[in-house]
C-alpha cells in the first residue's frame, strides 16, 4: 500500500444522484433505439415479412398451406412468375437438402414478391450480402417484397438446422440486368 493520504469513499448521496442520471441515459437510449428501428420499418429499408402471406395464392389460407398437397398451388412450379399486371412473384420451395428452383433469376431494379415454404422440416432462406432472411416452415408461407439493385450472383444459404445435409443446402440468386 502506497496511499499518501486517505481517499474519500463513495457515499449514498452522490451515488443516488449518479444512479438517477444513469437511469435517465438508459431510458433515452432505449427510446432512440426503438425510434430508429421503427423508422427503418416505416421507410421499408428492410424486407419485413407480411403478417400473413399469400392470401391471393390458390391453396393458401391465413398464410397456411397443406404441405402434402402443394401440387394444386403455384409452388408446384417453383420459380419466377410475371403476373398479368406486370408484378413479379418468386415461389421458392425448401426441402431436405435443396431449394427449388436451384437457381433463381430475377431482374435488377424491379420489386419481386417472394413466397417461401418448406415440404418437410424448418429451413432458413438467407440471401448473402442482403438482409433477406426468412424461415421456411412446412404448412406455412413466408411472403415479403424486395428489390435487387445491382446485377450479380448471390449465394443463398439454409440457415436453420435441417438435418445431416444442412451445410450442403445452398442455392443461388442471379440478378440480371433488365433487358429493355
Amino acid at each position: 500500500m502506497t496511499s499518501r493520504r486517505p481517499v474519500p469513499r463513495l457515499e449514498h448521496h452522490t451515488l443516488e444522484r449518479l444512479e438517477n442520471i444513469w437511469l435517465g441515459v438508459a431510458i433515452v437510449m432505449n427510446v432512440l433505439l426503438f425510434t430508429s428501428a421503427i423508422a427503418s420499418f416505416v421507410s421499408g429499408t428492410y424486407p419485413s415479412l407480411r403478417g400473413e402471406g399469400g392470401h391471393h395464392i390458390t391453396g393458401v389460407q391465413n398464410g397456411r398451406i397443406d404441405p402434402k398437397n402443394i401440387a394444386a398451388t403455384p409452388f408446384a412450379k417453383p420459380g419466377l412468375r410475371e403476373n398479368p399486371d406486370g408484378t413479379l412473384e418468386a415461389f421458392v420451395v425448401a426441402k431436405a437438402f435443396a431449394f427449388e428452383p436451384t437457381v433463381l433469376r430475377v431482374p435488377a431494379g424491379r420489386p419481386v414478391t417472394f413466397h417461401v415454404t418448406s415440404l418437410d422440416v424448418l429451413h432458413g432462406y438467407q440471401v448473402e450480402g442482403t438482409n433477406i432472411n426468412a424461415t421456411a416452415i412446412p404448412g406455412q408461407v413466408a411472403s415479403f417484397t424486395t428489390t435487387f439493385r445491382r446485377p450479380g450472383t448471390l449465394s443463398t444459404i439454409c440457415n436453420e438446422y435441417c438435418g445431416i445435409g444442412h451445410h450442403n443446402m445452398v442455392t443461388r440468386v442471379i440478378v440480371e440486368t433488365p433487358q429493355q
Binding site: S3, V7, R9, L10, H12, L15, E16, L18, E19, W22, L23, V25, A26, I27, M29, N30, L33, F34, A37, I38, S40, F41, Y46, L49, R50, G51, E52, G63, R64, A96, V116, D120, V121, L122, G124, Q126, E128, G129, N131, I132, N133, A134, T135, I137, P138, G139, Q140, A142, S155, I157, C158, N159, E160, Y161, G163, I164, H166, H167, N168, V170
Partner: protein, 589 residues
C-alpha cells in the same frame, strides 16, 4: 436477523480467497442443527458437482465445433466417429449439456442453498433430495436418445424434426423438477414473511425468490410445448405437430431462460463480489428494483427470436422488440452499480485517478477475476444483443455464426465463467476442502476469457458475411463458403477452440483435485462472502426507502408478471391455435 459489527484487519485474504470484512456485514441466523446443515450442504454439492460433470463433457466437445468453423473436420477421425455419429450429434450434446444441464443443476443447487442459509430456515430435506433425484433421473432418461443419436435436434429441438419420445419425457421431468425447487423456496420465504411481519426480506433471499418466480412464469411456455404438443406427437398419439406454435411456446421460455442463467450470477455480482474486492454493495434498494424489473420484463419478449418467421403479425413483433430493449435498463443499472462497488473497493485499497484505480483490484484472485472478466465480456455481449433484438438489424445476422458468437460471450462467460469462479469458494464452503492452487485457477480463468473473446470475434465476423450457424462448413460440398473473404475470422475461431480446451483442462484439473482431496477444515471457515452496503435497505419495512417498500410485495409482482406475459402472448397464441396446421414428423439426422 442480526447485524454485528466485525472489526478485522483489512486485506487479510484467507486461503479460500475471501478476505475478512472491513465493516458491518450481514450475519445470517445460524443453523444449529448440524445434521440438517450437513444434509443441506450435501444436496447442494450434488447439484453443483452434477452440473460441472455435464459442463466437463460439454466443453470437451466444444473444440470440435470451433475447429469445424476453422475448416478442419475432426468428425471424420476414427475415434471421434466411434463416439459421435455426426457433427450435429456433437453439437446437440455440446448445447444441451452446457446450456441446459449445467445451468439448471448449478442454479437449482445455488439458489436452493443461498436463501435457505440467508434466512436460517428449515426446509424439508427429504423433499429437497427427492427433487435432486428426480431431476437427475430426467437427465439420464434424456441422455439415452441423445447418446444414441436418436435426439439430434440441437437444444432448440424445433419440430417437425422428431426425436425419440424418451428425450422429450426426460427433458420434461428435468425441467419440471426445477419447479419443485421454486415451490419449496417460495413457500419457505412466505413462511418467513408470515413469521416476521413488517420486516424487509434480506437482499440475497429477495434476489433468489425473484429469480425463481421469474423462472416459473418463463417455464410455462416450454412445459406446455413439451407436455401438450411434443410428447403426444412423438408417442404417435396425434397425427402431427404445428411447428410455428411449438416454436413460439419454445421462445416464450427460450429468451427468458437466458436471464434465468445470468441472474444467479448477478446475485453474486451484487452481494458477494464487493467483499472479494474489499468494497461494498452500492445500493440495496436499487438492487431490488433491478430484480423486479427482470421479474416483470424478462418473459414477454421472446418473439424477437421470430422476426424471420411468417404468420406472426408485425405489430406483435414490434411490441416484443420494444420490451426487449427495455430489459437493457436493469442491465445498465447493474453495470453502474457493480462498477461503482468495484471502484469503491479499489479506492479503499489505495487506487487513484479516473481509471487508475482499476489496477488495484485483486486480479490474481480467480474467484474475483472470473466474475469481473465475465462482466466485461457481457458488456460486449449485451451490445450485440441489442443488435439481435432490433427488427431492422436482425435479418442481417439471424441464424448466422454471429449468434453463437453472441451467446458464448453472454452465457459462455457471464454465466459459465461466473459459476466457475463461484465454485472456487462454494465447494470449500460446502465440503471443507481447500482450493489446491489459486495460480492454476487464475490461469484457467484468464485463458477462458481470452478464448471466448477470440471465439466471439471470429464468429461475429464470419456471421456478417453470412456464414450459417450450426453448419458443418468444414464438410460442405458447394464452394460458397470458400468464396467468402473469411480466412482470418475462421482461423480465429479455430484458434479459440484450442485456447478454450487448454483453459478447460486447467480449470477441471483444479476442480477435480479439490473435490478428490481430503476434507481439512469445517466448511464454515470459508464464509458466504456477504458484503457491506453503502445504502442498506434496513430491517423495518415501515422505515425503509420507498423502493424497498414498493418491491417487497413479491407475490403481487409475481401475479403481475404472469398477467403481463399472458397479455403479450395471448393474442399471438390464440391466432395460432385458431389456424393450427398439423404436419408430420421427420427424422433427417
Amino acid at each position: 436477523m442480526t447485524t454485528t459489527p466485525l472489526h478485522a484487519p483489512p486485506g487479510q485474504a484467507s486461503a479460500s480467497g475471501i478476505p475478512a470484512p472491513t465493516g458491518v456485514v450481514r450475519q445470517p441466523p445460524p443453523i444449529t442443527d448440524a445434521g440438517y446443515l450437513a444434509s443441506l450442504k450435501k444436496v447442494t454439492q450434488y447439484y453443483v458437482v452434477t452440473a460441472f460433470l455435464a459442463l466437463f463433457i460439454g466443453v470437451l466437445i466444444g473444440p470440435l465445433q470451433a475447429l469445424n468453423y476453422g475448416g478442419i473436420n475432426v468428425y471424420d477421425i476414427p475415434i471421434v466417429k466411434a463416439l459421435l455419429k455426426s457433427y450435429y450429434q456433437g453439437l446437440s450434446l455440446h448445447g444441451v449439456l452446457n446450456a441446459l444441464v449445467f445451468t439448471q443443476f448449478f442454479i437449482s443447487g445455488w439458489l436452493l442453498y443461498l436463501p435457505v442459509r440467508d434466512l436460517g430456515a428449515r426446509i424439508n430435506m427429504r423433499f429437497a433430495w427427492f427433487t435432486y433425484v428426480l431431476m437427475t433421473a430426467g437427465l439420464l432418461l434424456a441422455a439415452v436418445p441423445l447418446l444414441t443419436n436418436r435426439a439430434t435436434l440441437l437444444y432448440t429441438f424445433y419440430p417437425p424434426m422428431q426425436g425419440d419420445a424418451l428425450f422429450y419425457i426426460g427433458a420434461a421431468i428435468m425441467v419440471g423438477s426445477s419447479l419443485l425447487v421454486v415451490g419449496q423456496i417460495v413457500l419457505m420465504w412466505w413462511n418467513w414473511k408470515r413469521a416476521n411481519p413488517g420486516k424487509v426480506t434480506p437482499l440475497v433471499t429477495f434476489m433468489s425468490v425473484a429469480v425463481w418466480m421469474m423462472w416459473f412464469v418463463a417455464s410455462l411456455g416450454i412445459v406446455t410445448e413439451v407436455v401438450a404438443l411434443l410428447i403426444p406427437w412423438s408417442l404417435g398419439l396425434v397425427g402431427g405437430v404445428d411447428p410455428l406454435l411449438s416454436k413460439t411456446l419454445f421462445w416464450w421460455t427460450g429468451h427468458a431462460i437466458v436471464y434465468f442463467w445470468v441472474l444467479p450470477a448477478y446475485i453474486s455480482w451484487y452481494a458477494f463480489i464487493p467483499r472479494h474486492a474489499g468494497g461494498r454493495t452500492v445500493s440495496e434498494p436499487l438492487t431490488r428494483l433491478v430484480f423486479v424489473l427482470f421479474l416483470l420484463n424478462s418473459t414477454p419478449v421472446g418473439i424477437h427470436h421470430q422476426y424471420a418467421d411468417p404468420n406472426i403479425s408485425n405489430l406483435w413483433k414490434t411490441v416484443h422488440m420494444f420490451l426487449t430493449f427495455m430489459i437493457a435498463v436493469p442491465s445498465l443499472l447493474t453495470a453502474f452499480s457493480v462498477t461503482a462497488s468495484l471502484e469503491d473497493a479499489a479506492r479503499a485499497r489505495g487506487g487513484r485517478g479516473l481509471v487508475g484505480w482499476v489496477t488495484r483490484l485483486p486480479w490474481g484472485n480467480a474467484i474475483f477475476s472470473a466474475q469481473v472478466l465475465a462482466m466485461i465480456s457481457f458488456i460486449l455481449g449485451g451490445a450485440g444483443g441489442v443488435v439481435n433484438a432490433s427488427s431492422s438489424f436482425s435479418p442481417v445476422v439471424h441464424n448466422t455464426a454471429w449468434i453463437p458468437g453472441h451467446f458464448h460471450i453472454t452465457v459462455g462467460t457471464a454465466t459459465t465463467l461466473s459459476f466457475m469462479g463461484i465454485a472456487l469458494w462454494l465447494i470449500p464452503h460446502l465440503t471443507g476442502k481447500r482450493l489446491p492452487s489459486m495460480r492454476v485457477a487464475s490461469w484457467a480463468v484468464w485463458t477462458w476469457f481470452v478464448g471466448m473473446m477470440v471465439f466471439a470475434l471470429g464468429m461475429h465476423w464470419q456471421g456478417l458475411y453470412g456464414v450459417s450457424r450450426r453448419a458443418q462448413v468444414s464438410a460442405a460440398a458447394p464452394d460458397v463458403y470458400r468464396d467468402l473473404p473469411i480466412a482470418i475470422p475462421t482461423m480465429l475461431t479455430a484458434i479459440s477452440g484450442v485456447i478454450l480446451l487448454i483453459s478447460a483442462l486447467l480449470y477441471f484439473s483444479v476442480l477435480f483435485r479439490m473435490l478428490l482431496s481430503p476434507r481439512v477444515e469445517n466448511g464454515e471457515q470459508t464464509p458466504i462472502p456477504y458484503s457491506e452496503a453503502i445504502s442498506p435497505a434496513g430491517e423495518k419495512l415501515a422505515a425503509a426507502h420507498p423502493l424497498v417498500r414498493l418491491t417487497e410485495p413479491l407475490m403481487a409482482l409475481w401475479v403481475l408478471a404472469l398477467a403481463l406475459v399472458l397479455l403479450m402472448y395471448g393474442p399471438v397464441l390464440a391466432r395460432m391455435v385458431a389456424n393450427m396446421q398439423l404436419v408430420p414428423g421427420w427424422r433427417l439426422y
